[in-house]
Amino acid sequence: MTDIGIVSYGGSIPRLRIKAEELANVWGKDGTRIAKGLGIAEKSVPSIDQDTATISVEAARYALKRCNINPQDIGSIYIGSESHPYAVKPTGTIVGDAIGATPDLMVADYEFACKAGTAGVQNCYSNVKADLVKYGLAIGADTAQAAPGDALEFSAAAGGAAFIIGKKDVIATINHTYSYSTDTPDFWRRAEQKYPRHGGRFTGEPAYFKHVTNASTKMMEIAGTTPQDYDYAVFHQPNAKFPLKEAKILGFTKEQVLPGLKVSYIGNTYSGASLVGLAGVLDIAKAGDQILVTSYGSGAGSDSFDITVTENMKSYDRSKAPLIDDMINDKEYISYGVYAKYTDLLYWE
């Protein structure tokens, strides 16, 4: 057990939703069947004025609202996303100025498909461990783009979560972290392309399952734990089926996984996914709870964390910002036409 960990956290989920049926109808598919197959009923859609930067700022501001940290004491900001608003010009400095953390600040934007956010957490953890910074802010956020008519259209969603990492007043310690990475091209997006491509069924066993399983297994070896030692397990959630299958493979129960499984209601928030799941767990966790988090990013790799909720959680005031479930339930449905307008599917000058 170390004294380094999460000091505060916050999430941000856009309000707009599109139902699986609405998406399926456009392509002449059976929405009910698809929703059941993926375990995704509807997904979040960013409004025309929301992007990874606005989602990151909102999540970071919520995290700050819940604690008394002076933003000037945040020494590093790492934002992981597949949809940074600029290819060159960091989202991190936009957030930095928006929360008052500039100018004494280390910033870099991260990319590693859906695990860029957890990579940011690892880096903040390292910064704090090295006493380089008092607090580090890690954010995973995305407004994921999916090609129209592609299977991913049913899951690619928008959302994110922010974590302030430090040594003081920690509500959940990060006891260990371990990453398992290989060059596995299961899903990618070329530089000038708008939409990603993927290897179909190749994204399953040799990609997601191999990395999440290996990372989680090795993590538990390092920590000296077994699945039974954990109250919650959060796995990356491209759909509802993969993490539940992973749970079976590793020996976790459904009950351990479901609280952190948000994909059914909001879709896959990509770099936000595991962190939103973790935030959802922290929304209900009690002092002493043990949490295993293993993210997955295509290309490929998994970051695993062994986390213990501390006594400080008793005095942590979550009510200063909306819970993940509050944001999930604050929604407004839109049609495919509006969805197309907002996600830039329509070509116009």
Binding site: D49, T54, E58, D97
Partner: protein
């Protein structure tokens, strides 16, 4: 509007964080900040203090824009309001996350960070304040 980046950069603290200023002589609050207080004038020189607004305010009037400028064409119809901030100053901003039928004069609102507009697909993106109803 001519899209020069320095012009927007200069006002980032106003757009992102509603940083206003207060006259040290009479305590009136101004947003955007002023070089000197119009009422105290020379008495206020050197006495204008930065003040970050809380982001909370109330709608004084509003409209729904149906015919929007080029930069906003995909957003119509959208609500725009004049908002009286709790600290005193008034400003003009879009209202978001609100049913158009629920809009009313006197509605309490709070600021959110959103994309305001962008300079086409190759230019800079401009972020700033919009307001949503206080739940």
């Amino acid at each position: 509007m001519p899209k020069g980046v320095p012009r927007y950069w200069r006002e980032i603290q106003q757009r992102y964080n509603l940083v206003a200023n207060k006259c040290g002589a009479c305590n009136r609050v101004y947003f955007p900040p002023r070089e000197l207080c119009p009422y105290c004038r020379r008495e206020s020189l050197g006495k204008m203090e930065k003040l970050k607004l809380s982001g909370k305010g109330e709608i004084l009037s509003y409209t729904i824009i149906h015919v929007g400028p080029d930069d906003f064409v995909e957003q119509v119809p959208y609500p725009v309001a004049i908002i009286q901030m709790d600290e005193g100053p008034k400003l003009t901003a879009q209202i978001v996350d609100c049913n158009i039928d629920d809009l009313h004069i006197g509605m309490k609102v709070e600021s959110v960070f959103r994309k305001i507009q962008q300079d086409g697909s190759t230019g800079a993106i401009y972020y700033g304040y919009k307001f949503k109803p206080v739940k």
